[in-house]
Symmetry: C2
Subunit: 431 residues, 2 copies
Amino acid sequence: MPLRLDIRDPDFVARFEELVHSKRETEADVGDVAKAILDDVAARGDAALIDYTRRFDRFDPAETGLAITDAEIDAAVARVAPETRKALELAAERIGAFHARQMPEGFEVVDGEGVRLGLRWTAIDAVGLYVPGGTAAYPSSVLMNAIPARVAGVQRRVMVVPTPDGVLNDLVLTAARVAGLTELWRVGGAQAVGALAYGTESIRPVDKIVGPGNAYVAAAKRQVFGRVGIDSIAGPSEILVVADADNDPAWIAIDLLSQAEHDAAAQAILVTDDAAFADRVVAAVDDHLVTLPRTSIAAESWHRQGAVILVRSLDEAPALVDRLAPEHLELAVAEPDAMAARIRHAGAIFLGRFAPEAVGDYVAGPNHVLPTARTARFSSGLGVLDFLKRTTTVACDAASLAAIGPAAITLAEAEGLDAHARSIAVRLNRR
Amino acid sequence: MPLRLDIRDPDFVARFEELVHSKRETEADVGDVAKAILDDVAARGDAALIDYTRRFDRFDPAETGLAITDAEIDAAVARVAPETRKALELAAERIGAFHARQMPEGFEVVDGEGVRLGLRWTAIDAVGLYVPGGTAAYPSSVLMNAIPARVAGVQRRVMVVPTPDGVLNDLVLTAARVAGLTELWRVGGAQAVGALAYGTESIRPVDKIVGPGNAYVAAAKRQVFGRVGIDSIAGPSEILVVADADNDPAWIAIDLLSQAEHDAAAQAILVTDDAAFADRVVAAVDDHLVTLPRTSIAAESWHRQGAVILVRSLDEAPALVDRLAPEHLELAVAEPDAMAARIRHAGAIFLGRFAPEAVGDYVAGPNHVLPTARTARFSSGLGVLDFLKRTTTVACDAASLAAIGPAAITLAEAEGLDAHARSIAVRLNRR
């Protein structure tokens, strides 16, 4: 059974705070292994990539080549059902349109003292996208990571993907084609991260690495951070559904399970003001579980990580939501916009009874790479800004430097940085 | 002598790449010590803070209280020279005005399928600013870190600062007052980072920690990352000056030294197209060094890390600049804007002969917390966006879900995520 809390319980605050701070992830400590692989790739380049791929993926890229060829992608696309390809194209178009609206504008102004100040945005030159192999290879994630980079204007958009036993994933390659990736390499694990960070004879280094991966990939990304940029390391998925009694319990139940089915460590939480409705949702979850293919994962998540929180009034929900700062938030209530306006911390909000979270995973347009584990308090989902950076500009002439320079000299001297002070003073004929 | 390279040399490319990849920083590995302190603060709270402060800062905060009081700040402000206070106020005003221009706007649109999509920005609730003690306590850095948080709308803006022997730094406290910090605590080191991340009886936890610190502080910030947000860990400062022969060599020389004086590991590089001018700059550096108070630091930086790069034409400069991706870039040339337009990677650009980098350190308005060690390839200086986060919104009704839902069902089924598919299908009366 999922945890059940009632805001009227005398120990509610303590038990709710326990839920807020519960740790669901136990990331294996594989830093040493990842470091050894990274060092080896930095030292031996392609030869190391080939060795690790032989060992971990059980095929010889010296025979196939490290690069996935256009012909291989063509063949993969041809094998994918037309309906699926069209769905990927619709998703790509909608993701592209939403992210295009995020493109920021710089500015340049001349202020009252005659100082010309500016801020401009430029794209990162080259980005690497890690795509996991096996069951965690989601074509939708290829779109969500690659399209914002393309919209931002990143020129080199490089995908690395392990191909266990040399088998290519048709859906992933089709998504890569649809998302406009410019290079694809059949290499995965920490060795792929090393190739992207350090470069090899075949693979030129990139400036930033994004995308999900297993514990080795996460550890490798942490270690190359600084040399290249990385995205945040995502934890298990979460959904929080705020629902009143006017919902169909079966709809709410399947929404909870749509995150629970990702991972036994995923978390689904229901907040409602109606105990009988909560009971109906719990019963409906059990009904769905009988017929879901991924029932064992979803059931373990729901029973171990799930929670049902009963409040006196849905007015109490926003404060609880902000404490939990969920990755996904569904507001299945009569006035979802009014409630959303009272909530500060959530990765993505789904408004109303006809916006199940899954529509955002694929085709709505916003990104599905979102902050987990309460990090929505201080971070954001992936977006165009993650593939751009800012440069500020300052232009002075003699007059404007004379206007603001003396204050800078005063502060530099107060800080004991005389060369700083002098670099301004010489231009003001002060020395 | 600084390194001297000429683009006409046959080994130029190799030696330039060596410069690009030279490591200047040797961060001590103090992760274990930092972890022990963090764990202790998490476990014992204020008692641990008091113990470490007694040991490392040689005074007893159980007597003074951990909080720096308003009366103490008043007294500090009163002791600062009025000219210095006015300079801090001018700087704060200009920094505030520049950062206010960075405030982003969200959007909400209804697309052709009737799906309502939005993106909104909210401020982080609480931010901690670490301010170093001793000689690295720069009031200008207090302004540069605290003002963007205030502009962003962060409600709790908390400063921690070590006060060795219990001595308060009047300039830092005055800057804190001018920057509008809301809480000040006399605690530093990894223990202060622990207090900000985990909270203690006295200090409530924050959501993000920014600001420079020593190796212990940096290691502690790395370790609490995830629980709270952190800014990037800055390396030694850098300046790259592109200058033609029409400059006063003494001006360019002092600009190079204005970064060199920060740290023996700082780096100052001159790119010019005139060998005789380069010689005059090198001679002028030596002249300045004779009279600079921080001559030993600046001389060590210049002689060990400095470089003079001779190009055939300044047309060749932008490509070299982009490879180095400098923190600070001065373009002391006849047409600085035209050259800036050709450069993609730099933290901040100073345009023309009257814009020494030091004016940007204090009063120009843009932030002086900037990406070092080539990270300007993928990251930005501190700004208002670092204190905000995005939430996306999706609203569908039955009709718009019917328009885009089937594609999502197709993709969810292709990925084997049946609960995802079903959460849409139930709403479309498909099951």
